[in-house]
Structures are given as C-alpha cells and as structure tokens.
Amino acid sequence: MDILFEHGNFALLRDGFLQTVELSALAALLALLLGTLLAAFRVSPVPVLRAFGAVWVTVFRNTPLTLLFLAAVFTLPRLDVRFSPFTFAVLALGFYTAAFVCEVLRSGINTVPLGQAEAARSLGMTFGQTLRLVILPQAAKTVMGPMSSVFIALPRNSAIAGAFSVAELFQAQASLTDLGYPIVLIFFWVALPYLAISASVGVLFHYLPQIALAAGRLVRGLSERGTPVRTETVEANQ
C-alpha cells in the first residue's frame, strides 16, 4: 500500500490513468468515424473507393502499432507536420483501429442475407428506409460482439503511447520502476486501472443494445407525436 501514497506517486498514477482514458476515448471516436467512412467506401458501388478502403485496411492491419507510433512521432515532424506526442498517439491509434472497425462493420453488413434487402425494396421501401429499418438493425446484432473486442483492445494498445513520450500508465510504470519500487507492486497498481477500463468497456457494450433500443423508442415516440405519419411515394429503383 505504501507505494501508492508516497512522494506523489498517487498523482503520477492518477494522471497516467486519466491520460490513458482520454487517449483511448479520443482514439475510439476517431476510429469509429473513420472506420464507418471506410466501411461505407468498402461496400460502395464505386470500384475506386472500394480499392481505397481495401488498401487502407491491408496496410494498417498488417503494420505493427509500434511501427505506426514510430512513424508518427519520428517521421511526421521531419515532414514539417508538428503536433504534440499526444495528438500523434491519437492519430496512430485511431488510424490503426479504424481498419478493424471497418472490417467489423463490413462483415456485419455482409452477414445480412441478400433476400432481406430485396424483400424490402419489393415492398417499395426507399434506400434510406431499407438501410435504417431492415439492414442496419440486423447488421448491428452480429457486429456487437466483435466491435466490443475492438474497443476493449484499444485501451490495451494505448499503452504503446507511453513508449513515445505520452505520460500515460505505461510511463507511470516505467517511472516508478526507475524509482526502484518492487516491480510486483507497481505491476499491481498499473494493472488494476487497465482491468477497470476493460471491464467498463465490456459492460458498456453489454448494455449497448438496450440503450440503443430505448433511445430508438424515445425518438420514435417523439416523432410519432410530432408529425403525422407520411405516406412515402415509391421511388423507382435506379
């Protein structure tokens, strides 16, 4: 217990924890946005966009994250791109994770049987309705599991940022080790926050379907009360 309350160690670990959480959250946001865009590219009817998505995924999935961090922190400043190490870390982690998010989303959309969309279209649903009411809800169901693994892996991967001058938990571990504390104790106090983060993300994803359902019901309830139900005109299939 001593180690935690000596010489400002608590502040070191707390700041490291907050930095890890902040880095993970920002990278997760970037990965989600970019990954969704890339997935849209990969399922789009335009071959050039599909190829772009495929190349992105191949490059970022098969390059070690450590190399990406090295490239961001040591290479980009040589190209006159100057950000803080933290920003570089967010970019490297976000770009890397986006490739995995893209693959999860794409495979999720691909698991929806073709007949579902054909049936929706033959009922006269527009593209937007087909996507919103038929395809995405079914894709979301199969996507939830793999998506939670991607976002549980992200905070774990964020530890590498510590080796590239971001003051997060790995750096706290390294500093405390240099101060000569027993490594077992340090490991315990550094492991605990990571386990807490992993567990929180796991719990969040576990309840996400219920949260999404509740939100959907709320939105539908409001719109039904607000505007009368429109009768959609059948659009010609282009």
């Binding site: 399922v43 789009s44 009817p45 335009v46 050039v48 966009l49 772009f52 191949t58 490059v59 999935r61 098969n62 390059t63 070690p64 994250l65 450590t66 190399l67 090295l70 490239a71 040591f74 290479t75 040589r78 190209l79 006159d80 791109v81 959309i109 691909n110 929806v112 073709l114 579902q116 969309a117 054909e118 279209r121 593209f127 996507l131 395809i135 549980i152 905070p155 774990r156 991967n157 964020s158 530890a159 590498i160 510590g162 080796a163 938990l169 790995f170 571990q173 390294a174 080790t177 490594i183 077992v184 490991f187 550094v190 492991a191 990571y194 386990l195 992993s198 567990a199 299939n237 282009q238």
Partner: protein, 278 residues
Amino acid sequence: MSSSRSASASVLYDAPGPRARVRYRALGVLAVLGIAGLLWYAYDKLDSTGQFAPELWEPFQYTAVQQRILDGLLATLKAFALAAVLSLLLGALLAAGRLSDHKPVRAVSTAVVQFFRAMPLLIMIFALYRGLFAGDPFWALVTGLTLYNGSVQAEIIRSGVEAVPRGQGEAAYALGMRKSQVMLSILVPQAVRSMLPAIISQMVVTLKDTSLGFVITYPELLYAIKIIASNSTGYPYVPTVLVATPIYITMCLLLTALARWIEARGRRGANRRTPVPA
C-alpha cells in the same frame, strides 16, 4: 435478377441502371481526383522537406546497414517462431483446463485466460523485463507474447471444441471412450481443423507484437530501423520507415495467405470429411 447477382452483389444496392451508372462513374472520377490529390500532397511534402535527397537513401547501400536490417529481421522471426510454438502449447493447456470437469481447474484456467487477455502486453513485457528476466529482453518478450497470445489461442481452441457438433462427442462416449480419448482423437482434431484460420490470424498478431521488443531494447527489426535512422547522417527516419513497413506487411500477408490456403484446402472435396447433420 439472379443474372445480375455477381460475386460483388451487395444488400445495399441493386444492379445499376443507366442513370445510376452515370452517377457511379462521376463519383469514381471524383474519388480518383481526391486520391490523386492526397498522393500529390504526400509526394509534395516528402519532396519539399528533401526526403528524396540521395544522402538520406545512401545508408541502404552499405552492407553493414543491410546486415543490420537482416539481423533485425532474423531476431524478429526468432522471437516470433518461439512465441508462436509456446503460445500454442500454452493455449492447448489452458483450453484443456477451461474444458475440464473439475471446477477448481476450470476456475483457475478461466482466471488466467481472462487476466492475460485484458492486460496490455507492453505492461507485462516491461514488468517481466525488469522483474523476472532482469536484463534479458529476448525471454521477457517471448514470455510476454506467449502469455498473452496463449490465452487468446486457448479461447480460439475452446470455442472450436465447443463448436464441434455434440453428437460427435456423444457417439464417442457411447463407444466407451474415455474423456481424454474423446478429446484427443475426436473433438480436438475437428476443432483445430475448423479454427486453423483463426489460429493463424492470431499468429499474425503475435508477429506484429514482436515489435514491442523495441521498447525493451531487444534488437528486432523495428529496433534496427530506429538505430539506423538515428546513427546515419541526416537522420533518415522517413526512408527507414518506408523500408520497414513493406517488410512487416509482406510477412503478415504471407501468414494470412497461408491461412487462406489452408482454409481453401479444407473446403476442397478431396480430403473433406462427410458433413455431419447438426
């Protein structure tokens, strides 16, 4: 409809008609312009900061530098090969533990698997490096990789065993086989067969994670790259990264291709087993 359903058929859109084709083509042209713009921007950045200067690329002509890259590559492959084998052994052991009939064995294996899957590998490798293997980065790296990837492999093997149709195990028990016989001669061979692509994908992760050895000064490929860049005149970081990235990507793609090949081989008729009605 079925004639237009090609391999690239998507639930998201129909076979395009004339108007949609024009629109797709316009989007395609826009996309090409956008990508060309990005590439030009990258090229311009590299050029204007002098990254194509010959002296930055000169080091790669020296045999000492080439030797260093080769040594780094071999060190990477050495750590990878050992970690891959050990993690499969550990994975088999932990999977057996999680499928055990004895509750304590199950509980311990589950705890071990969950812990090592949730911990950042770098944190473990660093603790091993400083604590257990004081000053021996190779074994710290291999042990860390084995503990993490072994736990993941255990989950892959376990889910494979659980995915084998129940009748297979029941039939084996009905023939009077013991649990170890049922496992070893009936369930595990089928599980490994179906999970081989997933097992190899995890090996790609193992291969990529050897680059964490960089942090504890194990002289693998990434470490070699960093040394070359910081010891040469003009700090050729950009050229070294441009050399290292294709090497890593190629190694990983070769492993992935192996997984695909094995999967395709398993599907081909010649050595396929009679499909079991579920």
